[in-house]
């Protein structure tokens, strides 16, 4: 047990992040639990709007107002030599010094749009060096050298001159590399990547993912990767969390999720990926219905409106609890409770 504890880097427990708008409350994240292990990769998958980005931002407390964390814990296990100190990030003041010391230094983040995620009027050098100077006691020149080294490491050619470029002078792939350099320059123990390759073309996508794996190997950080693409999950993940409408509906290691999906949503999701050998005529299974709009979340299990196995009168009433299945697997579906197991 102690050994396993040593292994854990970040625990998210019962996280709820709501947006309080004039039109109503959007429960973007409504009870999410997962763990990230040191030097491992956790993938979060789910349809658009299910709260993946909000979960990621909640970890760093950078949710835009009127959104805020209303419940839950985010426990970060900071290692100092041989001792570990557990910090609850969710309880920190979003504008305070404590959380700022974690941001960019211990947990850093890269985003989907490499163009708009970098300031258009500052050079990439300026933006990378800023991260170094914020967190490390070095001089400007040293910071510059570190930045150049890092740019070289992420595969930007001629980093000595590129460091003076503005983002619009770089290609999309180069920009994302610069983003990665900026995120990793302080050697964080967790890198959160929010759909880092969605805006890139397929070859560049593959290169960026390879780069991330390489750097993970080299620097020994954990990665929390948010993606739509189950192919990417298969390639990168050690663990997987499947999200649906603000709930983590299923989690487990990548093999068991792919080979033995439990939740009806996960199964539907897996059915929807094209398989090699699929005949041209055969239709891809897509999940029927549409994602309910965020103001009118269904009662009970959020997925029951689209679920083929929903039990009428039950699933639309009872919010499924977390059901541990052993080996770190967990599912939130009433079909796996003792009471309703017969309906399966």
């Amino acid at each position: 047990m102690a050994n396993q504890d040593q292994d854990i880097l970040l625990e998210v427990k019962g996280l709820k992040t709501y947006f309080f708008l004039d039109e109503g409350t959007v429960k973007a994240v409504d009870g999410v639990d997962f763990e990230i292990r040191r030097q491992q990769t956790l993938c979060i998958v789910g349809e658009s709007g299910c709260g993946k980005s909000v979960t990621a931002r909640s970890i760093l407390q950078i949710v835009d107002p009127p959104g805020r964390i209303v419940e839950g814990e985010i426990l970060y296990h900071r290692r100092n030599g041989n001792t570990t100190e557990v910090l609850n990030l969710a309880a920190m003041d979003p504008r305070g010094q404590e959380i700022r010391a974690v941001r960019g230094k211990e947990i850093s983040m890269i985003f989907q749009e490499p163009m708009t995620s970098l300031s258009p009027v500052h050079t990439i050098g300026n933006q990378i060096m800023e991260a170094i100077l914020l967190h490390m006691p070095v001089s400007k020149n040293e910071a510059r050298d570190t930045a150049i080294d890092m740019l070289r490491r992420v595969g930007i050619p001629k980093p000595e001159s590129r460091i003076n470029d503005y983002p619009f002078q770089l290609s999309g792939g180069m920009r994302q590399r610069a983003m990665i350099a900026m995120a990793l320059v302080c050697r964080p123990s967790l890198l959160i990547a929010d759909e880092p390759t969605t805006a890139l073309d397929v070859t560049t996508q593959a290169q960026i993912l390879d780069l991330m794996l390489e750097l993970q190997e080299e620097m020994g950080m954990a990665i929390m990767l948010i993606t739509h693409d189950l192919g990417v999950v298969a390639e990168m993940a050690d663990d997987v969390v499947v999200m649906y409408l603000g709930h983590a509906v299923e989690r487990g290691d990548v093999d068991s999720i792919f080979h033995d999906p439990k939740h009806p949503y996960t199964r539907a999701l897996l059915r929807s990926i094209p398989k090699v050998g699929l005949k041209a005529r055969e239709r891809l299974d897509s999940i029927r219905g549409m994602v309910p709009d965020p103001y009118h979340r269904p009662a009970g299990c959020p997925f029951h409106t689209r679920c083929d196995e929903a039990i009428p009168g039950v699933c639309d009433r009872i919010v499924p609890p977390r059901i541990p299945l052993g080996d770190g697997r967990e599912v939130r579906c009433l079909l796996y409770t003792e009471e309703y197991a017969g309906e399966r």
Binding site: E23, G24, T25, Y295, H296, A299, G300, P321
Partner: protein, 383 residues
């Protein structure tokens, strides 16, 4: 953890939400615009005030107590009177509107006349009173005024009198018609020029576009007021008032059209690429028909918003020009012409009420700005 109800009580989702959604589906563009517009409280207020001001402009003759040019040397710079309602006489209290008369005191040292309210003289005032005859819109002969003294000769200056003892209230009401309409006419002229040239520029593109854009840039690079002053001074002094009026509107719209042309051009440029225009063209519709039937309606809402926003600047410009004596000239009455009376400090010091037309300008401009802002947001929530 378990939560049986779909919505906690704290969530402010109104019940009829469902209904609106269905309506949204079939709502026309104008309905949508109205719904969005309704949410702006200030715009609603602005719209109401604008409507009232234009109604005043419409019924000037009826609303003004007297003729704006009727003068009376006896009442030069007479201060505003208060309209009283409660009449305490020996016989008890009577409720009816009346004003007190003036007593003139001559200051021997400063050689100035000052007016004092004379409580011994009471002039009854009546609503819908028969007064100076007039022709409503130059057509209908009438005598009824909204308010006025029962005795037509009695002095009634609710907003004071000017240098020639003319009633400021009547003059301001008459000024409303000229000032507000000059904005409309000026904008109409700019609009014709703007749509025509902006449309040509955006629709055809190429070298015509470049040429028109250069002209616009050029016109914008000339400082407007010196330009207006120059052109205003060029209007021959012997022109009749009506022609001066149109001369001024032409001068004002000379700059005004450039802004509208830009808006129109931008819209045309983006619309040109839209599918429905292409479809119409493939259908064999004529170019003019495409423009009038398909393109103009799709940006009408924008144009309306831009118009509303350019009327106030027209009003301000007219006021400034007339104030300097290069715009409209007496006997035409506009707010700017009225403010001309307030040009030096001394007359303002003796008769501060000469500045009241300025308040009218501010209110009108504010109302139109609020209205225009609301319309713009309603026309294009993403702009």
């Amino acid at each position: 953890m378990t939560e049986a109800r779909p919505l906690t009580p704290g969530i402010a989702v109104e019940e009829p939400a469902q209904e609106t959604e269905i309506n949204l589906y079939i709502a026309s563009q104008w309905q949508l615009m109205w719904w969005r517009f309704r949410r702006h409280k200030l715009a609603l207020i602005g719209g109401t005030v604008t409507l009232i001001i234009y109604l005043i402009a419409l019924f000037v003759e009826f609303l003004a107590p007297t003729d704006p040019n009727a003068y009376s040397v006896r009442y030069t710079y007479a201060p505003p009177q208060r309209l009283h309602f409660i009449d305490r006489t020996d016989k008890g209290i009577r409720i009816h509107p009346y004003v007190y008369g003036y007593k003139v005191k001559v200051d021997k040292v400063a050689l100035r006349r000052t007016f004092v309210i004379d409580k011994t003289k009471k002039y009854p005032v009546r609503f819908f009173v028969k007064g100076t005859p007039y022709k409503l819109w130059g057509l209908i002969e009438m005598k009824t005024h909204l308010i006025g003294p029962v005795d037509p000769e009695a002095p009634m200056y609710l907003l004071g009198a000017d240098r020639m003892g003319r009633d400021m209230l009547s003059r301001m009401i008459y000024g409303t018609r000229v000032s507000m309409s000059i904005g409309l006419v000026g904008v109409a002229l700019s609009l014709i020029l703007g749509i025509l040239l902006g449309g040509i520029s955006g629709y055809y593109g190429g070298s015509i576009d470049t040429l028109i854009q250069r002209i616009i840039e050029f016109l914008r690079s000339i400082p407007t007021i010196p330009l207006w002053l120059g052109l205003g001074a060029a209007l021959p002094p012997n022109w009749p008032p009506l022609r001066v009026y149109f001369g001024i509107t032409v001068i004002l719209s000379l700059i005004g059209w450039t802004g509208l042309a830009r808006v129109v051009r931008g819209r045309f440029l983006s619309l040109r690429e839209e599918d429905f225009v292409l479809a119409a063209r493939l259908d064999g519709s004529s170019e003019l028909r495409i423009i009038l039937r398909h393109m103009v309606p799709s940006f009408l809402s924008h144009i309306i918003a831009s118009i509303t926003l350019s009327i106030p600047s027209m009003i301000l410009s007219e006021t400034a020009l007339s104030f300097l004596g290069l715009g409209l000239r007496p006997p035409v009455v506009s707010w700017g012409v009225l403010l001309q009376e307030a040009q030096n400090v001394r007359s303002v010091a003796t008769a501060p009420w000469l500045l009241i037309p300025g308040i009218a300008v501010v209110v009108a401009v504010l109302a139109l700005n609020f209205l225009g802002d609301g319309l713009r947001d309603a026309a294009d929530p993403y702009a």
